[in-house]
């Protein structure tokens, strides 16, 4: 048997990946059809998810009104990581998750760690998003019918509840759709983006009435460290920007389009976020944010004294967050599917139902786990776990860019990061800076989770790896 080091570093041959994914069969139809502004629009749509609807409640108590600066910081790091991700995605001639890229370039062990991060970025974020949805659903029910789901059934135990039932119901509904093989069309996607941007603009315009400069007088009560701590949780609202990078092979003139699209999406999203955050922190004292549920809707209600703007915002949030949950759950099941094919998780995970052509067992398992997380964990913890998972995944990708430039300088790259090696180094530094200011609890749990993933690799993945099996067969014949 090969040494642990050899196993850990064995890489999936790129040619094999291209063949497996049929890169030469279906790709031609899609080739190079997306232009700059379309791609930027996709990026904006993918980035504005649930984050902005929920992070202020968590971030402002940590950073004070200066949390608006944290949006710039988190946005800059998100932009750098997205640019590095774009080079990684264009070097490996398949489209997939960063797990696939890591497997092809950095080795099986690293891929497993990245997969553990992706479970946070997709699975745990589905739970976070579902909890945020339940807050806005409650707000909407309250405004429309004067009825709220009792705290015991809509809060995590840590927040004096028992179980977050609406969040679980959302996960179950999305699961049913995914089992049936539902997918989001480009048109629905566009409508969702318009709804999300629309309600945020509504918040900015209506919320301006509540402007009170006194609330900004003590701008940064916790100094710079307060800002970076807030950036850790705010990073959650930038997850999805990397979606631009994965569209590389469908983009016309990627070398120019990709960085520009990332820049445009980042500028638009950051401007929108900062405007929302500024209006919010000017509308109420920083300490009022603590524990505020369905934050943006609550602020609108306080500012206007009438319920209709809050109702519109809550309705928009309920509709658009539904689609975000669907997307992240889908992503999670497909990442596990890929891992199942590679032998990193049991074969059950890549079993397709022949009628619906969907991975039903995986979908049910994911739904079960996500439901439990959404039911019993508070949203700030879920959001921070998502942030740290995503940050570490991007950290690995940024390191990967440098490693590949050293080890395989001749590989064709559809896109190269500008200002190499400054860009990946800044990206790595930014990720580390934000990570080290997260709450210690988050960091400990993350390390424990990474350790679990590595242990899983040692005792399961390493032995069941399809790649290892192929290698073993080669050894026997040679």
């Amino acid at each position: 048997m090969a040494s642990l080091r050899q196993d850990f570093l064995r890489r999936k041959p790129v040619s094999e990946m291209a063949q497996e994914t049929g890169a030469d069969t279906g790709k031609g139809e899609l080739a190079r059809s997306i232009g700059l502004f379309q791609l930027a629009a996709f990026g904006i749509g993918a980035t504005i998810g649930t984050g902005i609807f929920i992070v202020l409640t968590e971030a402002v108590p940590i950073g004070g009104p200066a949390a608006i600066l944290a949006f710039v910081l988190a946005g800059a790091v998100a932009g750098l990581t997205a640019i590095c991700y774009a080079e990684m995605a264009s070097t490996v001639p398949v489209s997939g998750s960063s797990y696939s890229y890591a497997y092809a370039t950095l080795g099986e062990g690293v891929a497993m760690v990245v997969a553990a991060c992706l479970l946070l970025e997709y699975g745990v974020s589905s739970a976070a998003v579902a909890v945020g949805w339940s807050q806005y659903l409650n707000e909407l029910l309250d405004n429309l019918f004067g009825f709220t789901i009792p705290d015991s059934l809509s809060n995590a135990p840590e927040q004096d509840g028992v179980f977050n039932l609406p969040a679980v119901i959302l996960v179950v509904l999305c699961t049913l759709l995914l089992i049936r093989g539902a997918s989001e069309s480009a048109r629905v996607n566009t409508v969702m983006v318009l709804i999300k941007v629309g309600v945020l603009v509504l918040f900015i315009v209506v919320g301006l009435q509540g402007w009170n400069s006194d609330n900004l007088s003590e701008f940064a009560p916790f100094g710079l460290s307060g800002v970076t701590s807030a950036a850790g949780i705010i990073f959650f609202s930038y997850i999805g920007l990397d979606a631009v990078s994965t569209a590389g092979e469908e983009v016309r003139n990627p070398r120019r389009t990709l960085p520009l699209a990332i820049l445009i999406a980042l500028t638009v999203v950051t401007t929108l976020y900062i405007a929302v955050a500024l209006v919010a922190v000017a509308a109420q004292p920083a300490e009022d944010f603590e524990g505020q549920e369905a934050g943006l809707a609550a602020i609108l209600e306080d500012v206007t004294g009438s319920t209709w703007p809050a109702t519109v915002l809550a309705a928009g949030a309920v509709v658009s967050i539904f689609s975000v949950t669907l997307v992240t759950l889908y992503g999670q099941t497909r990442i596990l599917f890929a891992m199942g094919r590679d032998g990193m998780v049991p074969p059950l995970f890549h079993r397709l139902n022949p009628r619906t052509l969907t991975p039903v067992p995986t979908t049910i398992i994911v739904a079960f786990v996500v439901s439990i997380l959404a039911g019993v964990l508070p949203i700030d913890f879920l959001a921070e776990m998502t942030s740290i998972g995503t940050l570490v995944a991007f950290l690995v990708v940024s390191v990967g860019v440098i490693v590949l430039r050293q080890t395989a300088p001749d590989l064709p790259r559809g896109f190269r990061v500008p200002l190499y090696p400054l860009t990946p180094i800044l990206s790595i530094a930014g990720c580390i800076w934000i990570i080290q200011d997260l709450r210690p609890r988050t960091i400990y749990v993350f390390f424990a989770w990474a350790a679990v993933a590595l242990a899983w690799y040692l005792f399961y993945g390493r032995r069941h790896s399809e790649l290892g099996r192929l290698d073993g067969a080669d050894n026997v014949t040679s």
């Binding site: 791609l39 749509g45 489209s95 497909r334 990442i335 890549h350 397709l352």
Partner: protein
């Protein structure tokens, strides 16, 4: 011309393949065997599914090869994997692209053997397809040399019924089959307590049948055997 056959990878029988082969032979058409797979998502966080999509393609192609292998030798059948948001929508897209004469899909697997049963796909198509739909009874089998010899139209004498006859006559002409009009007088027997006997309606029905027959004869004289 072409007929599009919806082939599912679930291997729940080959009724639609048998029917499609017979229809294609009769009309001297080509077949396109088509498996619809879930559509790709728009660019976004869902674009992490390369491996899944590859597997979809593989499973679908494998199923199509099995289906093509079952086709009688005299039938020319192409295969096609189509990503679409729903199976009926995908089949209709393919049918439109190939300017197809008909779409052949199977009965629902929840129906009884020997009966036509609408499932989610065939129901959707039956209600909204702009082109012909061919639907075999569940468990339908056909030896590999048969042709369509006769087409029966359920005829009630109404105006819509005329259109149906014209349509069916067109199909019959194309496949070289005879056309038969059938009308069904469905009447419950009068209750015993009415005191007029159980055969009291017979004369009425006979007259109705006569009228219908002469009307149809006048309208379709010469074109109907």
């Amino acid at each position: 011309m072409t007929m599009v056959v919806g082939a599912s990878p679930d291997r729940r029988g080959t009724a639609e393949l048998d029917l499609a082969a017979m229809l294609a032979r009769s009309a001297a058409d080509d077949l396109v065997l088509c498996t619809v797979v879930p559509a790709p998502w728009p660019p976004g966080p869902a674009k992490v599914d390369a491996e899944y999509r590859a597997e979809l393609e593989r499973v679908a192609k494998e199923a199509l090869e099995v289906a093509r292998a079952q086709m009688p030798a005299d039938i020319s059948a192409a295969t096609l994997v189509r990503p679409a948001h729903s199976v009926p929508a995908g089949l209709l897209e393919v049918a439109e692209e190939h300017d197809a004469r008909a779409v052949v899909v199977g009965s629902s697997s929840t129906g009884a053997f020997g009966r036509v049963a609408l499932g989610s796909v065939s129901d959707w198509l039956a209600h909204s397809s702009p082109i012909l739909i061919a639907l075999p009874p569940r468990g339908y089998r056909c030896p590999p040399d048969r042709r369509v010899t006769r087409i029966t139209v359920a005829y009630g004498g109404s105006e819509g019924g005329d259109d149906l006859v014209v349509g069916a006559a067109g199909v019959a002409a194309r496949v070289g089959a005879s056309l038969r009009l059938a009308s069904f007088a469905v009447r419950p027997r009068p209750p015993y307590t009415s005191g007029v006997g159980t055969e009291a309606d017979r004369a009425m029905i006979e007259q109705w049948a006569q009228e219908l027959e002469s009307a149809a004869g006048a309208r379709w004289a010469g074109s109907v055997r």
